[in-house]
Symmetry: D2
Subunit: 253 residues, 4 copies
């Protein structure tokens, strides 16, 4: 049973907000409504409700939402988990990511393919890669992640199970990504604008089949049993997701 | 490289529709627009485009959407993949499912926890369990799935990493599920109506913290670059998802 | 008090569906669940519940949804009522419509500007105009509607209070519509694709300010108090609405 | 042609925001990006673009969104215009409103029924009614609006064309509203929570037919042609709309 230890990363839930904090006993957690005494937590099991505070072991979602330093627009968990699903990622898979960004999706991929799998992630901007590396090292192991400071054109591996592209002009790397994938392997992309979706559709068509374009919307509710209602505002747009599967033209007879 | 073999389960994409078929060489695939000759496919790698047909290796999504026999309302992949994510499932986890239903979510859980993990799934209706068993055996191995024809009250294991409840009145099993979970362990539920959400919120409150209620909406687009637009109609509702984390009241001295 | 008369147009609500019918006493209304005897209705006030049938006086919505013959994609009431609102239509206004289509929006405009107002509606396709005329004559008066079989370029009136454009390439008529409007007058457009929205934005910019692009989504619920939940499916897309207000560049000395 | 005059209410659009201001020549409009000189506007026609500022004649939407003093949650225009439509309001109609609130919907009703119609609006809270009266007097005439400081139970008029109820427990006034309406007359309600929807459905059933429950969602887009995309966030909930039509049980034979 996991007990709370000094310097653990803990998730505090208080008045409807979440805080990811390092448990440094001298620091405590202060709000207008009271103080959560850190020293008193040490040695207790996780999952505590104490006055208006709750303390949990952080999940991967907590880490991505509240722990990462964002130098780029991150891929949000709502999109990230759907991407992992559409790429059919499983323990042991090899996945190629074009555009490491801040590493949010890299973490999800790493977790999905597990210790027996590999994530090879290309990033051209040194500054972004540095930030992603710090983010990953802080919250996970780099053991199955291979960060490359390079253009994906330099990739000479093949037979990847799946690929994901998060760059401004994904259409320029379609052929390269096609080559890197196994037959029937899955491709995903994310772009923020409809103009990019149109361009991406033109670029993907010769190389990938079963193409889909979609958006994921999460509508949250206030959790009051007697007055159930949606939140007043919601995230209305993060990006358009595009998926396809590697295809080879086969001319009969 | 995976080659197409006789009796493989294949995914055919044709005129915007998907078909999950067993490749029985004598059967072929006929539509108004032409015929896909099955015998000609044998020995080719997956990922083929041949006239108006595309042939892929089925993914877990294809299996759930087009392969399962549904005796109950299934948990749709859009919800299922978010559930796996919120339950923080990873290789090696032990998860308890209350309500096997048709086994769609059981398959996703099995895949997420992998060979080192376990899914213990309770179902009271023999007919449903039988159907779920057939579905699972057809598309996966039962090796990490433990189907139990019993009420969850009979469960005497504890220390599960995560729990999911898909029954009509989930509030009755909250205490039991709480006992079965590790401290800080994640719980999920799905219910179709707002009345059930209110009741579930009343039931979950003493046992679980950081409670969330939400819906996942997927908006799909027609994939024509020059005429990009959303589909005319969409799935507007499958169920409300409810999540929480096991909590223990901790009274400070 | 309106009483039901022979040959009235009536709205029948039965088993969750709506039917717009002419009350011809010899015809009756038959369904699997029973028969509504038309002769028995004559002389009763509207608003009747009789076994599983309800009978109402049709509203403008009923007429548009169930009464019009559609030779073109109609502007749906959910969009139409928002358009009337954004165009600030009121009793006595003069509005110009480019693209009569099937006349659905023309009917709404006619109703909004009332007997003291005017709707001038241009349509280039004779077939569409003919159909629109029939639709309008069947359900309303043409007294404040001026249908023109012509290109809007032939319009020589000015000082319209508001304008609406529903043609494939609305950007070509922006300057003309600008000339036809009063200063500060409102313009609306509807287009189905994102590509058209981009083109329309390029076309509207020099002539109109305060530009908005939006979609109206209506999410309907099953009306069962004990099992409240959204409908399983919904209309996900009809069109993108674009609005602006006539603007003149004013260079300060 | 409307010219800008001193003390006019004007709408300023600047950097994507809207401001409803009284044109007091000595005041001007200041932002980080510059100053709009009010005196220079006097005598110009409305609909001006001058550097980064645009100036328009305010519409009813501008007045409701930016002009009203809100002592209660107002009915938003997106809901208000749909309500007017579902109530089939037209020039000359008599409509009864239960719950004046801040008067936003009252203004829309007044505009829809015009000078030949009447809006009778009941409000029990003197403070709200006072505020509504100020709001209405500031932006419109009270000529067709009859504000009553009373419970709707005191209403002794009948034969209203339509009714709208915006109070916490609308189910208590169903019978009264039924009596006040013409046969087949339309009823609307707005409530914020699902619990209220369930209660309202129980209350409405004996008195009204053709019942509908729905939500209106408006999804807005950034208006950049080359980078078209939805706004990052949106209003996710204002209220559930409930509609019905007055019905009388008619027993045959």
């Amino acid at each position: 049973m996991a007990l709370i230890e000094e310097n653990d990363l803990i998730l505090i839930v208080h008045e409807g907000n979440r805080y990811l904090k390092k448990l440094e006993p001298k620091k405590n957690f202060h709000s207008k409504r009271g103080t959560l005494d850190f020293a008193s937590l040490v040695g207790l099991p996780y999952g505590i409700r104490q006055k208006k505070f709750e303390v949990f072991q952080p999940t991967i979602e907590d880490v991505i939402m509240y722990g990462l330093r964002r130098e780029t627009q991150i891929v949000y968990p709502k999109d990230g988990c759907y991407i992992c699903f559409k790429l059919s990622l499983k323990h042991g898979d090899r996945v190629i990511e074009v555009g490491t960004g801040s590493g949010a999706l890299t973490l999800l991929f790493s977790r999905a393919v597990g210790s027996a799998g590999t994530v090879v992630s290309f990033e051209k901007e040194e500054r972004h890669q540095k930030n992603a590396r710090k983010n990953i090292e802080r919250f996970a192991a780099l053991s199955n992640i291979d960060l490359r400071l390079a253009d994906v054109s330099e990739c000479d591996e093949t037979e990847f199970d799946a690929a994901f592209v998060d760059v401004r002009e994904p259409w320029y790397v379609m052929e390269k990504v096609w080559s890197a994938l196994k037959p029937s392997g899955s491709l995903g992309m994310i772009v923020p604008t409809t103009n990019q979706v149109s361009d991406a559709l033109r670029g993907i068509e010769p190389f990938f089949g079963d193409v889909e374009v979609l958006e994921i919307l999460v509508r949250k509710y206030k959790t009051v049993a007697e007055r159930l209602r949606p939140d007043d505002r919601m995230v209305a747009h993060t990006g358009y997701l595009i998926f396809g599967r590697k295809v080879t033209e086969h001319v009969t007879g």
